[in-house]
Amino acid sequence: MTEQRVISRKTGVEDTDYKWGFELDIESDIAPRGLNEDIVRLISAKKREPEWMLEWRLKAYRHWLKLGSEEPKWANVKFPPIDYQDMIYYAAPRSQADGPKSLDEIDPEILEGFNKLGIPLEEQKKLSGVAVDAVLDSVSVATTYQEMLKKVGVIFCSMSEAVKNHPELVQKYIGSVVPYSDNFYATLNSAVFSDGSFCYVPPGVRCPIELMTYFRINEMDTGQFERTLIIADKGSYVSYLEGCTAPMRKTHQLHAAVVELVALDDAEIKYSTLQNWYPGDKDGNGGVYNFVTKRGKAQGRGSKISWTQVETGSAITWKYPSVILQGDDSVGEFYSVALVNNHQQADTGTKMTHIGKNTRSTIIAKGISAGKANNTYRGQVKIMPTANGARNFTQCDSLLIGDECGAHTVPYIEVRNPTAQLEHEATTSKVSDDQLFYLQQRGLSLEESNYMIINGFCRGIFKELPFEFAAEASQLMRVSLEGTVG
C-alpha cells in the first residue's frame, strides 16, 4: 500500500501540548457578528445559491427563532450560556471568495497551513490513496483526486459546489435524514451552514480510495457549521474519514455540524472520525464546543452504515452518530472511543432505530476519563413494531485514570416488538497497579505501561479504523494524555 498517510503531526508549535494550535495569517472575509435573516441571506448570496436553498435556510432560521435559544438540556454537560448574537457566522479566506480553485491558485499560506497539519494538498505531495476535501473556517479550499474519482463516477466535492452542480441530488437528500427541525443545533446549522463535503457513489461502484474531509477552524469567534451529505447508491461502497483541529483560543468556539448519510439497497458506508478540536487548557479555558448531529439512514434492503469515532478533543462533545435501520436486513454499527482529560466533558453515544425486518445493530463504546473530566455514554436502542427479528448488541466499557474523573452510562431501551433480541454489557475498570507493575517489570516505563493498557482497552475500536488512521488514533490518545499518566 502507501507510505505517507498519516493525517496530522507535529506542527512546530512549541510549549504546548496541543500541537495543532497555530494560527494562519491570512486575510479573511468576515460577516458582521450576530445572527438575523440578513446574515442568512448574506451567506446564501456569498455562495450564489439557488432560491430553493435560501428558502430552506430561512425556514430553518425561522424555526430556530421559535426555539428561543433553548439548547437541549438533557445532556450531562455544563457550560455558560452561549451568546448567539456575539458570534461570527461566516468567515472565508479572502483569496477563496469564489470557492475552491485549482490548486495553483490557492493562497500559499493556506497550502502551507495544511502542510503543517500533515495534509498536503499539492498534486505531487498529496496523501496517496486518500482524496481530501480541505475545509477552512466556512469554506472548502481544495479537493484532491477529483479527476480520478470522476472516472469512476464518484462525486466528491464541497457542499457549495454540489448545490450548484448537482442540485437535484442535494435537493432530494438534504434534510431527508436530519430535518431542519431536528434539534436546536441542527436547526441552527441548517440556517447558516457554510460548507462541508458532498459525496455521491453511483450504483455498483466501490469507491477506489478513501475519501476524507479535513476541517480546520482558524478565525477567532467564528462558529463552524459545516454540513456533510453522503449518498451511496445501490450496491456501492464508500469509506469516508473526517479529521479536525483548531487553533488555541482563550474563548470557546462553537462547532455545530450536521452529517447525513443515505445508503440504498445493499450499499455500505463506513464513516470514521478522528475528532481533535482544541480541548481548552488545563484549567478549562477555551476549547471547542462540539455539538454535532450525525445520522445515517440505512434505507435500502441489506444496506449497512458503520460509524467509528475516536473523540479526543473539544472542551465539550455532544454527539450521537445514529442509524435508522429502515431497510429489511440492514445493519447499523457504532464503534467509539471517547477520551476526556482535565476539564473536558463528553456526552456521546448513539441511537439505533430498528424499523425493517431482521435488522441488526452493534454498539461498542469505550470511554476513558482522566484528570477532572466527565464522560457519559448515552445510547438508545429502539425496536419498532415492524422490526421482526431485530437484534442489538451493546457493550459499554469505561476506563478511569486517577480518582477525580467520572464515567456514566445511560442506556435507553425501547422494545415494541417481542421477537427482538437485545444484549447489553457494561464494565468499568481502572488501570490496575498490578498491570502497571507487570509491564514495568518487563522494562516499560510507567508512561509506556499506561499507554499500552489504554491502547489495549481501545483495540476493538481501533481495528475498525482504516489502517493508517489507527496509528494516528493511538498517537492522539498519547498526546491527549500527556502529563496525566506516568
Binding site: 490496575s432 507487570y438 509491564l439 514495568q440 510507567l446 489495549g456 482497552f457
Partner: protein, 261 residues
C-alpha cells in the same frame, strides 16, 4: 568475597538484614541472602511466609516498604532503582500470578519489552524479522503455539499456559538474575518437564536464578546450589539439595520446632 575487590567479584545479589512491611504489618523480618553468578538458589517455605514478598521487593513492587536493610545488585543500590530500571538492568520476575492485559497482544507486548531492554543495553532494535526469528526459537523451547501470541497477554490462558508464557518472556529478555516465583505450580507432568528444561537451558555461568517453589520435584531438573527455608519472614535454615528432600519427607514442623527451641 575479598574485601576491597571491585564489582566484578562482588556477588550479583547481596541482601542484608532486609525488613519489609505493608502498611502496619511486618512481613520480612531480617533477610540475608547472597547470590553469585552461576548459582541457582531455591527458596522454600510455608504459605504466607514471605517468599513472594521477597521476590516482589527485588523487582521493585511499590506497595511494599523497606523499613531496614539494603540490597546490592552488582554492587549498586538496587532499592534506589525504579522497577523498569531493574528490569532493564537484568532482573526478571516470573510472577506467581501472571497478570492479564486485555486487548494487549502478546506479540506486541513481547516486542515492546524486548525493545525497551535492548535499547537500555545499547543493542540495536531488532527488525520484525529478526524478532520473529528469535521468538520462534524461544517459543519452541517452551512449546507455545504461535496462535497464542496473537491473543491478549494471559487473557483466557490456562494456568499452565500462563507459566510457560512467563518462561518465554524470560528467554526473550535474557536477564542476568531470574526470580521464578512458583513457576512450577499448577503444571501437569509434561509441562513441568518443559518448563524445567526451559529454565535449565537458561542456566549459565554469567547468570543466576532464584527459584521459589513448594516442591522438590523441579529440583530434579534444576539442581540448586543452595536451598533456603523462609518462615515467618526469616530464612531459618539454609542447606544444599538434601534439605529439599528432607523437607519433602518431613514437612516444616521439625524446622519450626528447632527454630522455637
Amino acid at each position: 568475597m575479598a574485601e576491597s575487590d571491585t564489582d566484578k567479584n562482588a556477588p550479583l545479589l547481596d541482601v542484608r538484614d532486609l525488613h519489609v512491611s505493608v502498611g502496619e504489618t511486618d512481613i520480612l523480618k531480617g533477610i540475608d541472602l547472597t547470590v553469585s553468578v552461576g548459582e541457582v538458589h531455591a527458596i522454600m517455605g510455608p504459605n504466607g511466609s514471605g517468599k513472594s514478598t521477597l521476590a516482589s521487593v527485588l523487582a521493585g513492587r511499590p506497595e511494599f516498604t523497606v523499613t531496614h536493610g539494603k540490597v546490592l545488585y552488582g554492587g549498586q543500590n538496587l532499592l534506589a532503582m525504579l522497577p523498569e530500571e531493574r528490569a532493564r538492568e537484568g532482573i526478571f520476575l516470573a510472577f506467581q500470578y501472571p497478570v492479564e492485559l486485555a486487548g494487549v497482544r502478546t506479540w506486541q507486548f513481547l516486542r515492546a519489552s524486548v525493545d525497551a531492554v535492548r535499547r537500555h543495553r545499547g543493542l540495536k532494535e531488532l527488525s520484525i524479522r529478526e524478532f520473529d526469528k528469535l521468538l520462534d526459537e524461544k517459543r519452541e523451547v517452551v512449546k507455545i503455539d504461535p496462535e497464542m501470541l496473537k491473543r491478549s497477554v494471559n487473557e483466557g490462558f490456562s494456568g499452565g499456559e500462563k507459566k510457560r508464557n512467563e518462561v518465554l518472556q524470560m528467554a526473550m529478555l535474557d536477564p542476568t538474575l531470574a526470580v521464578l516465583d512458583e513457576t512450577d505450580s499448577g503444571l501437569d507432568i509434561d509441562a513441568l518437564k518443559i518448563v524445567a528444561e526451559g529454565v535449565d537451558r537458561f542456566r549459565s555461568p554469567s547468570k543466576a536464578i532464584i527459584l521459589v517453589t513448594h516442591y522438590q520435584r523441579i529440583l530434579n531438573y534444576i539442581s540448586p546450589d543452595r536451598v533456603h527455608v523462609l518462615m515467618d519472614g526469616r530464612i531459618v535454615r539454609s542447606g544444599d539439595r538434601e534439605l529439599a528432600l528432607e523437607l519433602e519427607k518431613k514437612g516444616y514442623d521439625w524446622i519450626r520446632e528447632s527454630v522455637a527451641a
